[in-house]
């Protein structure tokens, strides 16, 4: 029920912001007198959306070496270089999580083709009430005592931070694509029986590709 409500809320935000964005979309030619420049210097203004797919790539020693990640950001272009936004996504780690993030990014050139740096931070909410106790163990020791064995643990979610860089290319005034690379640190917490708390720290290379539209 919570999961469905969150998705519904997410869809409503998306539809509202998209409508709002359309009303504020503008094509701003830098040089009104130069028709070539007019065609090439697309710039985003106001609210726009970045929807990306990606993986959280890590060591092959990890239980999950490259879980899938989806994210949709509603951004606001403050000026030619700076954009701020919020977003939500879905990620399939040991459990399914909905990361809610704030995003700050700086476009180095502020033109149709521009490298950028960004940082995201937020909190990942679990969609599952329980997690398999095997979150902690790949196997059990045959010796008693060393490893408390958890039949069930409760995921609590956790904070994340995601600084990185990327390249944006606008094909049109209201459409473009981007690719980004970032370091993703994700902290996840679990409550386990016998007054035990478990912390999982993911350190991953986040590779994303997505579309930009207004």
């Amino acid at each position: 029920m919570i999961k469905q409500s969150l998705f519904l809320l997410f869809a409503l935000i998306m539809s509202f912001t998209y409508t709002h964005a359309q009303s504020n979309t503008d094509l701003l030619p830098d040089k009104q007198t130069n028709i070539t420049e007019l065609q090439t210097e697309y710039k985003l203004n106001g609210v726009f959306n970045i929807t990306t797919l990606g993986v959280l790539s890590g060591s092959s020693q990890n239980r999950q070496s490259a879980p899938f990640s989806f994210q949709s950001l509603m951004m606001y272009q403050l000026d030619h270089n700076i954009a701020l936004g919020i977003g939500m996504g879905i990620e399939f780690l040991e459990e399914t999580y909905l990361p809610i993030v704030g995003d700050f990014r700086y476009y180095l050139r502020g033109s149709r083709f521009s490298p950028f740096v960004f940082v995201q931070s937020g909190y990942s909410l679990p969609t599952d009430k329980t997690a398999n106790g095997n979150i902690v163990y790949d196997y059990y020791s045959i010796w008693p005592g060393y490893y408390p064995q958890y039949e069930e643990v409760q995921p609590l979610g956790g904070f994340m931070i995601n600084p990185g860089f990327g390249i944006r290319h606008l094909f049109h005034a209201d459409f473009g694509m981007e690719i980004s690379f970032s370091y993703r640190h994700q902290n996840l917490n679990y409550d386990a029986p016998t007054n035990t708390r478990i912390e999982a720290d993911y350190n991953r290379l986040n590779i994303r590709i997505g579309i930009i539209f207004q």
Binding site: G58, N62, I142, P144, G145, T196, R197, D201, R204
Partner: protein, 426 residues
């Protein structure tokens, strides 16, 4: 530009694959180990003032002296010239000691992972003669079972205790080959009881049924969970380690009779021939249900107690009488129901069984097929762990102390003396 991008992607993927490892941490209240470094362990043996018994373990007799192990702490030495009033002479601090044996005037003991030899020539100045390191497996002391164990770092030293506290540790799925201490497993060793003054320079003692050290001629055998360790003690003061032999799984006790070693394991009794002392030869195994099982041997009969209802597994408690006339093919002759038997001892045709809360039981085993029908006496008030009967005297270690009895009259054994367990007086 495309080449640069490709290079960046490949470099990042390689970086991620090699270094981006997840970290999982547990935060919980646990038994956190207290370590003693290996350097400190190597110089920890020292003689100190007499102490009261607190948690007595195995016992040993040599000449007029009684040696009682204070589990993992050291050894009490009593002058037993007058059995009715043993004199507490001294205490030798030996961290991690569980088992002892004496040959001549040299005492052998374990000290966690090390094997040590101590000179008893001058009981007022007991000194370490030799230490052979890393002989025994890394063991852990008893812990509070209400809490899990924190990770053990063997590089830091041996674990001498625990403290309960909240710990934070990264999860590592590793296999720890650590053996667990049997919290109630006591070990007796033996000695000949006599009225000779002083520790003689010759002869060796006789172990109790819970012993894990035993001497045969010029060879000392010790056993751990899996291995039989063999030492040459021809020169008592300079024991030489021969080597280890895999002897079975879950070995608990060792008993030497003639040229054979009987190893009490959780699943049976393993019999080895030690005609060639350096190279024990496997003869046979007598299987039984899983249980804690010390063994003693007299002539062609072995007596084994099985204690169930504990960490040893199973719920069966009984006394088995096994014929070892053919050591390659032991045969069960009779069984006798027990309550919770620990150690046992036999002298001539009298068998003494420490049956836990059911007390000390004494059987006439003239007819080994009818042991149960020949219960001579039962002393339910005595919660005993191990006994050594010898020539009319019964030495017994119990929950509340060390007892000496005279059993000349089996129906009315007489308490000669008791060394009680007392609170710490350190």
């Amino acid at each position: 530009m495309q080449k640069i991008l490709n290079s960046v992607v490949i470099a990042l993927l390689l970086f991620a694959n090699s270094s981006c490892e997840d970290k999982i941490t547990e935060i919980f209240v646990a038994n956190s180990p207290i370590y003693m470094s290996y350097e400190d362990l190597a110089k920890a043996v020292k003689q100190s003032a007499p102490r009261n018994l607190e948690k007595p373990g195995k016992i040993y007799f040599k000449d007029n002296y009684i040696f009682i192990v204070e589990e993992r702490m050291g050894i009490h030495i009593f002058d037993n010239s007058n059995p009715s009033s043993p004199q507490n002479l001294s205490f030798v601090e030996i961290p991690g000691v569980v088992d002892i044996a004496v040959k001549g005037d040299v005492l052998y003991a374990d000290s966690y992972i090390d094997f040590i030899a101590l000179s008893l020539t001058n009981l007022n100045n007991i000194t370490e003669l030799k230490r052979i390191k890393n002989i025994f497996p890394y063991t852990l002391p008893a812990f509070n079972e209400d809490y899990p164990l924190a990770r053990i770092d063997q590089e830091k030293g041996v674990v001498v205790g625990w403290e309960i506290k909240t710990i934070r540790q990264e999860i590592e799925n590793r296999y720890y080959p650590i053996y667990w201490e049997a919290s109630l497993l006591l070990d007796g060793s033996s000695s000949a009881y006599s009225n000779t003054a002083g520790i003689s320079g010759s002869g060796f003692g006789i172990g109790g049924s819970l012993a894990r050290f035993g001497i045969s001629g010029n060879t000392l055998y010790t056993v751990d969970n899996m291995n039989l360790h063999v030492f040459d003690v021809t020169t008592a003061s300079n024991p030489v380690f021969y080597g280890d032999f895999y002897a079975g799984w879950a070995i608990e006790t060792l008993f030497i009779s003639g040229n054979k070693i009987f190893l009490g394991t959780q699943n049976g009794v393993n019999i080895y021939d030690i005609s060639i002392p350096r190279y024990p030869q496997y003869l046979s195994q007598f299987w039984h249900v899983t249980g804690c099982d010390p063994v003693v041997v007299a002539d062609t009969l072995a007596y084994v107690t099985l204690r169930g209802g504990n960490w040893c597994g199973n719920t069966i408690s009984r006394l088995d009488v096994i014929s070892i006339a053919d050591a390659r093919s032991p045969k069960l002759l009779a069984t006798c129901a027990m309550n919770e038997p620990y150690g046992l001892g036999i002298f001539d045709k009298t068998l003494f069984v420490c049956d836990g809360a059911a007390g000390l039981k004494i059987y006439n085993v003239t007819n080994p097929l009818q042991v149960e029908q020949n219960l001579l006496a039962n002393f339910p008030g005595i919660v005993a762990y191990d006994v050594i009967p010898l020539d009319g005297f019964l030495f017994m270690i119990a929950e509340d102390g060390f007892y000496q009895y005279n059993y000349d009259n089996l129906n009315a054994i007489q308490l000669i003396s008791k060394i009680p367990v007392s609170p710490s007086n350190k």
